[in-house]
Symmetry: D2
Subunit: 478 residues, 4 copies
């Protein structure tokens, strides 16, 4: 399960490119397939980008030095296999006779395919296969008199989940969709300048002070005269991607006032209340589920233990020629401490089950290490529906919970018991200060209740539901 | 503080090279400056090696495929700046008219410099600047009739801390020094073959069953006729590097029957008993100190919390041009969760203090995040003396505790209190089943009580002591 | 002085990509800054391209194998410093929702800048800074019902010198400008398939049989039904770039029925008749002037000798830190044989003088090697005006002959005598079978007589003439 | 057919490394498989080396800048497939406790195998598989009191053809074998410093003035006190490799006072006298045979023409998957000008026939281009015997003339006539000023008359002769 991206932009600091580089490192968990930075230098906008981790893209000081200047825009990207080409790595950089514009995006547009077809019919030529580029064509084709008005017009034409950032020689722009699916936050630097980026942890990393979250439907301009804001639309309603709290975001980030680690501890506490079990130790799957495990242990009174160890080295492993070697290569990334779990009844806390393959392997690790019982507790509801706003789950075929009952899943995963957090428990535990539906969260993957029209995806999704004889109106999440 | 190396060898399994690759990933924490594997292929011994992480050295499947065969020997290396050249990356591979020999080493020889000078005076030409190569020259110059006897003779000529492994077309050899400073363990694979490597975690990673630890002064031969053992010397006495337990080894490894994670939990528990403090939360410095923090929390009853977050992406960061950017780049690797520590009295558990610079930065992170009090608790005694057996501390100048009292350190590190574990507490908590001095541990960096002669290092060390007017015989560890 | 490019396309041969790779090697002299091939594979159009020589771009067999299929289009490119970025390396590849189109170009469009501005004003987004991309936008914006009609419409909108080739999944297209400035030839392969490329030498290299030259204003389509031709315009008049004969094209190529080597021999013979001199030996500047030197020697009866040797290794040399090292680095590429020239009166035959710097260095080499006299004979008229059709001379400031008399040039180049071929001699010696002006050649750089309007360049050129107080109507070439 | 190497050393010039880089470019024709330079810098001896052409090994200015200092030693290497590993790329660099020594070598030692075995039996460890390293072991094991005496002793122990150069922090050393098989020349730089290298063309390239050739059996030392010479042996007799004149050396080099180009012209003239033929044009195989072709044309009165064109781009071509593509890939490197050769009787002058495969392809090119008759004239005698002194012909199986009569060769090569130069003609045309046998040339590959014992190769060679029932004493060259 992968987030689409992380974005980081700065205006008005002499170390803009260097700080963007630091900031992107902090957002590396949001995308590992590609990275890029555009710097506003004395030679105008200059870009360095490439495939792979930030440390694989920026290998020489000169690559960063070439971007030195007072403003910068950076991006880390997750992409599906087909799109893993340099053309799709962001920020996209467009050069016109009179100006240059850099564009970075986190999210997914639900009407990108139909917009692209219309634009192509009208003569447009696309550089990339990503949906991001659509925005630039809409901007350039707008007949509005100023760039800001053109951008505003374009933002009103795209649907779905998005956090856009643009950099020109004159200003830095940022905008989020009307539901705030994808987070953006604003900070200020002690030595001057404004930062806008995906997570508060990146603000902290560069020494910036958090100012506030970007609001749904808001469009920001930062230029020599300061920070300007306007609502490009007022038809907004908060629906933050709940996966940001459950899985994606860093524990040291805050989203709309809620600390992610503490939200996860509360998810674990609530899970312990909803789904208690008699056991000897509580273990979390490192690293994303450790917070929820601490919560479960704290609420249940069962000792928190380190039953699983994750290698701190991100290993790009080769495709192994045999099934046996493939299984062994899992153990390279994660292993169980036999002396801790042997003979014990283990509560294993994980944040979610997507395909179920990883869960199965972890359970095997614990059983091989001698665990007497394994009770799997998931700190979110069952993932049953696709996401069309930027998370890489686009078909129900991939989702274990979309194709099996909890009882079947328990058997398939070979655990002694399996239980999920309730949707209500999720909403209450996160506890956003809002009266929006679902506590201000998007819970569509659990409930099928999508906050927007599905546009280009509607027909395909309806067909998937029909195949499974599901009437979406009758679905109710546990 | 860096360990010298990790080694991993296999004899008698058709996936020898692939398993060695997996095994080395599990040992990556023991050395990140270089890696190499020699495979016994149908074309004889073939090597692939390079500078950097294993994932930087093995970038294409063909590099590993070229090593395919029934036996392999791998190595990950830490090296000092001066020696960071390809020639020093191990396994070293020596080609003779009649045979080829691969050699890998973890440790440090105390008489390597004088042996090398003697050998050069006698016409020897060295390929590398590492001390490892000395062994090969001693073997080749031995007048003994068989390779095993030559190796035995050579092992009796080198002093210090070492775990050697050699691979020829006929056998895999392993040997540890007479004190067992550097660990080696033996395992067997379910589909055939014997593994010898630095840590049990690597056995687990490749699906091998642990057989036993290699004993001090033991020399092993694995060939077509099975595993053979002999003592190349009987003048042995166990003195395992205590830093393996405190800091280096993986928590999921066992050394001489003791699980490392559990030993660290006991260190934390003992520390809580020896050095209690009134506080609101206990936090460990991720990742190596989390086990001790769990122990401290468990024994003290103060809640365990996640106050610090470590980035899971190993960032090779550029040298930053300004002091401010340098400070910011620390936050990229480690950050404090403000919502967790703000207004709290924090017990910060760390495993050791070397130079003190990292500790100072972490304390700053906590203070900036709003911690009301910071009580630093170290789960080992003060590091006051150099190590000559393979850890990269060769001068007392680098050691904060060698140059300051605990009170001075508390002030310099800007903490509300500072306390260390006692040497007795360390020895008892690890709890090796032995009646050797210091509980079977080498504690020389704490006590100055070196288990061997210092040979080539003796004069330099005496001079350092003299400078500080220390009489080593009067030193007593806390 | 640099040609813009070489192109090579194949339709209907199972080794299309491999043959294109061979063919481009033969055209490497036409562009060394970048290379690319698009293959029509079972996965549609696939591209591999990069900066540098073909051998630097295609470094692994897999890169070529990925392009395997029945059709391919390749390109080698020269580019000015500013444009040396991957985005500009051709063939450009455009992906649309319904199809993909590859585009390659040799030449220069005189109205590209104004067309681009119009297109951008109408919302177009350009990927590259090259003029080539304009054609694709014109095609896509045409309202004509078929691709062929769209292409025809676009070709009628671009001015200047061009040889375009396009590849889709359905056909290969080729077209030259109405004056045939840039050559294209057609060939057929013995094992099936049609080749269209820049020079006949590339036909020979892939074993193709020459069919005919592409005619000015002609547009060709090669598809499953065969080769189809039409004139997209009938307002044509032959004006082949005379520099193709003098300098650019390979000696083993034929252009409009004339062999390039033999044309150069005739240039040398005519030069000997027009500008005789008493001397001991005739030497050519390797490699492009050797043919003319053979002609001069043959006509004059003075022995042909190898006075200069060119290194066969194309050295990309570093920028040297000192003037002295820079001068020495010239000798690395070209050197004089002292035993041949010492004490001799040397006729040095060169094909042209651009800036004069190279000529000066060569004369120095001969003088240092002991030549008694150096008589420089140039097998073309003085280069006095820019080229706007694809040769990289865009300002008169760069041209020695635009700023100095022949007498001044003789003195500056330190030669005993200096003489050029006449324009009439050039036209007669090439001897194209046509009654077009200037014998079917473009001689604008010698005479200022441009066959077309200069469009976007007209104002700048007029200003250069005005600076020099030249009335272009009164210019007459020698 | 490949030469083993080129060497270039400088002592006493502030641009030593930069000049060595320039000089090696000029020697690139002597070896293309690897290159390296050792510079004497303020940090002692520093090396940069790698596989491939010099331009592939030195890709960044910093690589050369790191070698900056007052002395340098460089090497370009040809190696057989098996030895194409970094370990064998020279200069070899040996680091000892007290000093460092760089070693470069051109040639082949006939007793290297037996010396290596003896040294290994005595405990020596070799880094490379090349014969060069033997010298260093002999030096280090010598019991002589000074380095110069040790080197002298070592030089007297190695046999065969060699030009050694060594660089220490104290001096540059050079020595050639007692027959002067491999050339070395001395030059001085105008801004100070002494150069010793393989060819005078490299002296010219760096602006050095030629002083003299290094004499057979001579050993040179260049240090702060100047250039010192001694004969390490007086049992010498000149036998320069005749292939240096025929094929290897650059035309702008002089060897023992004879210019290579002019020697080749004389070989061509003598060939025309010995082997005249009625024909219309004379063509040489570019580039090495052009000088001889000029000579043949001049003496015979038949016009010299450019019938064959060689691509100036060194193409590293992929192994082609089909025979047809393989044949086509030859045309990429060499092509015939049809308009020149069609209908003509062509005298094709080549310098030698090794396997005959290249000759056959060239003849095919001419026939396909329409040549009426092809008369092949070789400007050297038939190659019938191996070379043991540094040219890569070690078995008679590879040599066409060792296995076929001239009449058979004519038929196999499909030429109208075939003739070779006589050995006497060769010796006379080169015309070295010496009364040594064979005019001071080694002609062993033509005559079987080897100037030295064959040592390790004697038995193998005898067996090859026996297979062919050749009595070497009865062989007489044509």
């Amino acid at each position: 399960m992968n987030e689409e991206c992380g974005v980081f932009g700065i205006w008005g600091n002499a170390s803009a490119a260097e700080l963007t580089h630091l900031g992107l490192h902090t957002l590396q968990h949001r995308g590992q397939e590609g990275a890029g930075i555009v710097g506003l230098t004395e030679h105008g906008l200059v870009r360095h980008h490439g495939l792979g981790l930030l440390s694989e893209v920026f290998t020489k000081p000169v690559q960063l030095a070439a971007l030195h200047g007072d403003a910068a825009l950076g991006h880390v990207r997750y992409s599906t296999a087909g799109g893993r080409v340099l053309e799709n790595i962001q920020p996209l950089l467009f050069r016109f006779s009179d100006e240059a514009i850099a564009l970075a995006h986190n999210g997914n547009l639900t009407n990108a395919i139909s917009l692209r077809r219309q634009l192509e019919d009208d003569g447009a030529i696309f550089q990339s296969t990503s949906d991001t580029e659509v925005l630039m064509h809409l901007i350039r084709r707008s007949k509005q008199p100023t760039f800001t008005l053109q951008l505003r017009a374009a933002l009103n034409m795209v649907h779905g989940g998005f956090a856009f950032m643009l950099l020109t020689e004159h200003a830095l722009y940022a905008a989020t969709d009307p539901h705030g699916f994808r987070p953006l936050v604003i900070g200020t630097l002690p030595d001057g300048g404004t930062v806008i980026c995906s997570e508060t942890a990146a603000l902290t990393a560069v020494g910036a002070t958090f100012v506030r979250d970007v609001q749904p439907g808001e469009m920001l301009t930062v230029d020599a005269t300061g920070l300007h804001t306007e609502q490009y639309t007022t038809q907004t309603q908060l629906a933050v991607c709940s996966m940001e709290f459950i899985y994606f975001a860093r524990p040291d980030s805050n989203i709309f006032g809620v600390n992610v680690h503490q939200a996860r501890v509360r998810l674990g506490e609530q899970l312990a209340r909803e789904q208690p079990v008699a056991a000897d130790i509580v273990c979390g799957v490192p690293n994303s589920s450790l917070s929820a495990a601490i919560g479960y242990a704290r609420e249940s009174g069962i000792p928190y233990e380190m039953g699983l160890v994750k290698s701190q080295y991100v290993a790009r492993t080769f495709i192994q020629p045999t099934q046996e070697l493939r299984e062994r290569s899992v153990r390279m990334k994660l292993s169980a401490i036999s002396d801790v779990v042997a003979g014990k009844r283990v509560v294993l806390v994980d944040d979610s089950i997507v395909r179920g393959t990883t869960s199965l392997q972890i359970v095997k690790l614990l059983r091989n290490a001698g665990a007497k019982e394994v009770h799997l507790r998931i700190s979110s509801p069952p993932l049953r529906f696709p996401c069309f706003y930027g998370i890489d789950i686009q078909s129900m075929n991939e989702l274990m919970a979309a194709n099996h009952t909890v009882a079947e899943m328990r058997r398939l995963l070979d655990v002694d018991s399996l239980a999920f957090l309730s949707t209500q428990g999720l909403e209450d535990s996160v506890g956003l200060a809002t009266d929006a539906p679902h506590g201000g969260l998007c819970t569509a993957y659990f409930t099928g209740d999508y906050p927007t029209d599905l546009d280009d995806y509607a027909a395909g999704f309806a067909s998937e539901l029909a195949q499974r004889q599901i009437d979406i109106n009758e679905v109710s999440a546990p």
